[in-house]
């Protein structure tokens, strides 16, 4: 394979700078010692990171987002595993349609889901509740977890399962001792991706979040539309840091490119 020429490498450098510049700027501004937006020209300061701790509404929103992500990712996984086994292992009428249906929330813009969930939750009287938020997030993240679990179920070698069954193991034992450990990477990858998707979701959540159930992205959005200050930068820097850890975890578990191919469809 021939090497990239100087023009290609120059283009590549500019491209990478374009991709990383906004994120680097956010992290740099977070370390400013001034009371206004500026680059940390006279030394790094942690004052704006300490300021996060003085804002309990951000802290509350952060924990709500964490609990929301944990709950909805776990529910989505518990539903994805049996659904994947059904569509990957069985031939039955409506199988293809069912798979397409399970992935279909990807085709619906989040703004449309937001207005629909608001209408629905208001009608059943769940608007502004944590349970309502969890269920809505479960719908949004199901396709992501389902796709990863489905991929690992489809690609699994079934000879160990057959051996277990022929040695007299029950279906449940076979599932628990053989199938589950074998598809665990897919489950773990699906869970992490589902958690991040829930943790980042803004457009749908902004419709169904109430003042008592405000997630971190919603709280940050509200803050940014009023004022942009170093506080929001330091908070964003913390989020970038947490996301990078999850990203490396996902990359190790599964390979980032494999997880993201076809996303958004």
């Amino acid at each position: 394979m021939s090497k990239n020429g100087p023009i290609a490498l120059a283009f590549h450098t500019v491209f990478i700078i374009f991709i990383l510049a906004p994120l680097v700027i956010v992290c740099l501004v977070a370390f400013t010692s001034k009371g206004y937006l500026s680059l940390p020209t006279d030394g790094f300061s942690l004052r704006w990171f300490r300021a996060i701790l003085d804002n309990p509404d951000f802290i509350d929103a952060f924990w709500l987002s964490i609990y929301l992500g944990l709950a909805s990712a776990t529910i989505a996984l518990c539903l994805s595993v049996p659904a994947s086994l059904a569509v990957a292992r069985h031939r039955f009428p409506g199988r293809e349609g069912l798979t397409a249906f399970f992935l279909s929330p990807l085709m619906v813009p989040h703004i449309v889901l937001g207005v629909s969930f608001l209408r629905f939750l208001t009608a059943v009287g769940w608007n502004g509740t944590f349970v309502g938020l969890v269920l809505c997030h479960t719908i949004i993240i199901m396709p992501y977890s389902l796709r990863l679990v489905l991929a690992s179920v489809t690609g699994m070698d079934r000879s160990a399962e057959m051996a277990a069954v022929s040695l007299g193991a029950s279906s449940w034992t076979t599932f628990r001792r053989i199938t589950l450990p074998l598809i665990l990477p897919g489950i773990a990858g699906g869970w992490v991706l589902a958690f991040i998707t829930s943790f980042d979701e803004l457009t749908m959540t902004i419709f169904v979040a109430s003042p008592s159930t405000t997630t971190l992205p919603v709280r940050m959005f509200q803050h940014i539309t009023e004022t942009i200050d170093p506080l929001i930068s330091s908070l964003s820097a913390v989020i970038i840091f947490i996301t990078v850890i999850f990203m490396l975890l996902l990359d190790r578990l599964y390979g980032l490119d494999k997880i993201l191919v076809g996303q958004g469809r």
């Binding site: 539903l79 207005v115 209408r119 279906s171 996303q263």
Partner: protein, 290 residues
């Protein structure tokens, strides 16, 4: 084998998929149906939502110039973002494809990683960069290149730049996936037969990655058309797109039926784009890739 399938029949597929199916029917199909119904209701400023069946909201969207402007602007932004992503993302994917590890994986991580970082955070980065007293303007003024700050924030250009940044990883990923199927021997054959590097690119590489470019374009277009956070933050109060307009109708004007009609139109547009695209791809590439 027979024994396994006998055992498997104890857990029929319908039973296994029932929990997910019930959740979808109750919390996905029902809300969408309710929104569709809501869009046919009407709204009164004093009495709120009035039941009944009419096309009054759709009529308003179709006849009102304000909505024409919003839909046209959204379409224009989506088109610009898609073209820019294709023009910039395709060469980048090709460059990545020709790199060796560890550089390849490292840069792949750098390009795809931002997809996992909240859109709010990424947009904030652009607000800090392109604001009137942002880093870019400060640097340009400091270098003496310009006297007045360039106005990018709250302009269509600013929104387009930030959306390209938010969505270009999808394009790189999509083109990269189709490059994986490229046989390097064909490229080498072209070169050894005396074709220039440019001819090889034009005649061999580009035709083969076109499906990747097209599917990337589809993803980028659909996601731009329904983008909310970036236009809301960088577009300010005046530069409305479809998503921010629906948001305003819902949470500021409280005209839910009108907001629902806008949402339904956005959903229909989305579905039409995806369906047309699938047809075109099938027709165009059905014979070529068998």
């Amino acid at each position: 084998m027979a024994e396994i399938s006998a055992r498997r029949r104890l857990l029929p597929p319908y039973l296994l998929s029932a929990p997910a199916l019930l959740l979808y029917l109750g919390l996905f199909m029902a809300p969408l149906a309710m929104t569709l119904m809501l869009s046919f209701n009407s709204f009164d400023f004093y009495k709120g939502i009035l039941p009944g069946f009419s096309f009054v909201n759709y009529l308003e969207v179709v006849t009102d110039e304000y909505f024409h402007e919003v839909f046209l602007r959204t379409f224009g932004i989506s088109l610009a973002v898609t073209v820019l992503c294709a023009l910039l993302g395709t060469p980048e994917a090709y460059i990545l494809h020709r790199m060796r590890n560890p550089w390849k994986s490292l840069f792949m991580l750098a390009i795809l990683g931002p997809l996992l970082i909240s859109v709010v955070v990424r947009t904030l980065g652009w607000a800090l960069l392109i604001g009137d007293s942002g880093v870019l303007n400060d640097a340009l003024i400091g270098a003496g290149l310009i006297d007045e700050p360039i106005r990018l924030i709250f302009t269509t250009t600013g929104v387009i730049i930030a959306l390209v940044h938010v969505l270009i990883p999808f394009m790189v990923l999509s083109v990269w996936a189709s490059l994986q199927k490229l046989d390097p021997a064909v490229e080498q054959a072209g070169l050894s037969l005396g074709a220039s590097q440019f001819t090889v690119l034009r005649r061999i590489v580009v035709p083969q990655v076109m499906p990747g470019v097209l599917s990337g374009s589809l993803i980028v277009f659909a996601l731009t058309a329904s983008a909310f956070a970036t236009p809301a933050i960088l577009g300010g109060r005046r530069l409305k797109v479809v998503a921010t307009t629906a948001y305003d109708e819902y949470l500021n004007t409280l005209n839910w039926p009108l907001g629902a009609a806008i949402a339904v139109l956005l959903l229909i547009a989305n579905v039409i784009i995806i369906a047309t695209y699938n047809k075109v791809i099938e027709k165009k590439y059905a014979q070529a890739f068998q």
